[in-house]
Symmetry: C2
Subunit: 188 residues, 2 copies
DNA sequence: TTAGTCATGTAAGTGGTTACATGATTAG
DNA sequence: CTAATCATGTAACCACTTACATGACTAA
């Protein structure tokens, strides 16, 4: 049972999901491909943490809909109070930024402008996801009702938006600095 | 040549460094252990991207001080304009937050308070690192002189501080929400 | 005297990605 | 007609962590 396995159990607290759905929903929180998720689900099924019902579909491939067992819920509850690992962040761009004095100013500008587009897309996506949660959830969250399904999703989305906006502001600040001293603008 | 290898080349643009120093300095940007870094340095030395001078020390173990070769610089310059990979973020805590409705309110509070301490430590550490850069660097950055050694370090530190403060604010906001509805305070 | 720092390396294991494999349906 | 989505799985590979190994010096 690794962290991703517990993460899958966490997602299943919202209700039964297929492996494919789990794979999609876990992406914003924990990057993982289907090739990693399917074997873990099979393993957890063997160990009794989850169970599945095969669902036949017309027009689409059949699927397995997984749900938590009592054992799975117990495992989740044991995991939560355990010491939480430090966050792991790896961003290739930051390594490029470290040696920014070594590269063409035009390339530097491009690097930041690409990232600004990426963050803007993310922010829009997250806002759409917030809207999808509905006003009923918003009211529950604002009242601090953490037992409400959607409380976790809402505060996670808020965090993702805050992070993306902070990064976007940083990009704008750096682009502003770069324009102060347009070393690379010969020929523009 | 993987991303970490280019990252090591990026660090070496600041001047010669030992493997041990590289390992320490790359931590805030890219988590990697010495056991991963030493073999990569050996490989890059074989391929001619870096070279080293053995330095004998009294009172300390001998070390190898690596520096960039012209080939290494060329490789760096080729890498920068290549498409930049998406950032990878994996934080166990967010998975726990997702199923926060399923856990004890006291445990939830503890989770956030632990994180708030972690972010506060980080922010203090980053501020100390900023101070270490000196006013000369600050002036160069404020003038947008990106070719200045320290420009990259300064803007990366600013980003790290912004991120940590954004996360800390989020934790405070959630803790505030949790206190609105003290479900778990029976017996306090 | 125990733990921590400096300093380098290898070996074994886990976690995660890419590629291979299948196949029907739908949208451009 | 090509690409994307849904849906599951395996195999090979790469990236990263943990443990093993050594050894001298220093601070609590």
């Amino acid at each position: 049972m690794n962290t991703l396995s517990y993460g899958l159990l966490a997602l299943l607290t919202r209700g039964p999901r297929s492996g494919y759905e789990l794979m999609q929903h876990i992406q914003p929180i924990w990057q993982a491909k289907h090739s990693q998720i399917y074997p873990l689900l099979a393993l957890m099924e063997k160990r009794g943490f989850v169970q599945y019902v095969p669902v036949a579909q017309k027009d689409k491939p059949d699927k397995k809909v997984y749900s938590l067992t009592d054992e799975g819920i117990a495992a989740l509850r044991e995991w939560v109070p355990e010491p939480t690992g430090d966050p792991v962040k790896r961003d290739e761009m930051l390594l490029k930024v470290y040696c920014i004095g070594f590269i063409e100013p035009a390339q530097a500008r491009q690097l930041f402008e690409e990232r600004m587009r990426m963050y803007q897309c993310k922010i829009e996506k997250y806002h759409r996801m917030l809207d999808d949660l509905g006003s009923e959830t918003v009211q529950a969250v604002e009242a601090g009702r953490m037992e409400h399904p959607g409380f976790g999703s809402y505060i996670l989305l808020k965090r993702a938006i805050g992070q993306a906006e902070s990064d976007l502001d940083w990009c704008r600040w750096v682009v502003g600095l770069l324009q102060l001293n347009p070393t690379g603008s010969v020929g523009n």
